[in-house]
Point group: C2
Chain length 126, copies 2
C-alpha cells in the first residue's frame, strides 16, 4: 500500500471549495446566474433550479449576505418583480470555486489513469 | 432580459450531485481513496484531507453506511491499524458524481463563452 508522504498533507483538503457556493442548490443558482448577466426573475430562477419559493429565498439570502448576488425589486406592469443578478464579487468567487472543482476532476482523473490504464469510463474531462 | 423557456426547467437542478459525496470533506476523502485502490490507513487519510480524527470518523461513517467505503481493522506489528478503501459501488457512484461535476463546469464555461467573447479568465476546463 502506498504511504502518504509529508508533502501530500492536505492535498485533498480542497479548502477552495467555498461553502457558500458548494451547496448543491446554490451551485445551481450561481450557474444559472452566470449564464444570464442581465439577471433572472425569481420565478424563472425557481424553474431553472427546481426549487420551491421558500428554498430559493433561503439560498438567495445566503448568497446576498455574502455579497455574491444582488436582488432588485421593481413593479413591472403593476406587478412586483424580483430580479436576481450576480455581483462582480460573486462572479470572481464563482470562478475561483470552479477552478477548485476542476482540480478535483483533474485529481480524480489522474487517479483513474494511474490505476486503470485500460479503463474506458467515459467521464474524463474533455 | 432572456426568459426561461419550459424546456429549461430544472436545467440547473443538478440532481446527480449526490449529497453523500458532494460534502466538501467527503469529496476529499473519496478523491484520496480513488487514487489508492489498495486502500489508505486512517492516519494517512487524515493528513491528506486535513481532517481531525473525529471529523474523519464521522465522514467515514456516512460513507460506509452508504456502502461507498469499506473499513478494515487489523493488527500490524501489534498495533491496531484501520484501512479505508473504496467499494465497487463507491467507485461507480463517484464516477457518476464526477460526470455531474463536469456538467456544472460545462454549463458555466458555456455561459462564460456566451457572455464574454474576449474573456481570458484562465479557468476553462482543459
Amino acid at each position: 500500500m502506498a504511504k502518504s508522504t509529508p508533502e501530500d498533507a492536505g492535498k485533498f483538503a480542497y479548502d477552495g471549495l467555498d461553502r457558500a457556493l458548494h451547496e448543491k442548490a446554490r451551485l445551481g443558482i450561481m450557474t444559472s446566474l452566470v449564464t444570464r448577466p442581465d439577471g433572472i426573475v425569481f420565478g424563472d430562477l425557481k424553474a431553472l433550479c427546481n426549487l420551491t419559493d421558500g428554498n430559493l429565498s433561503r439560498h438567495l439570502d445566503v448568497l446576498t449576505k455574502e455579497g455574491l448576488v444582488k436582488i432588485h425589486k421593481a413593479f413591472v406592469a403593476n406587478r412586483p418583480q424580483t430580479t436576481c443578478r450576480l455581483s462582480p464579487l460573486g462572479r470572481k468567487r464563482f470562478r475561483e470555486y470552479l477552478s477548485q472543482l476542476e482540480q478535483v476532476l483533474r485529481d480524480a482523473q489522474a487517479a483513474e489513469i494511474a490505476t486503470s490504464p485500460n479503463s474506458s469510463t467515459g467521464w474524463a474531462p474533455a
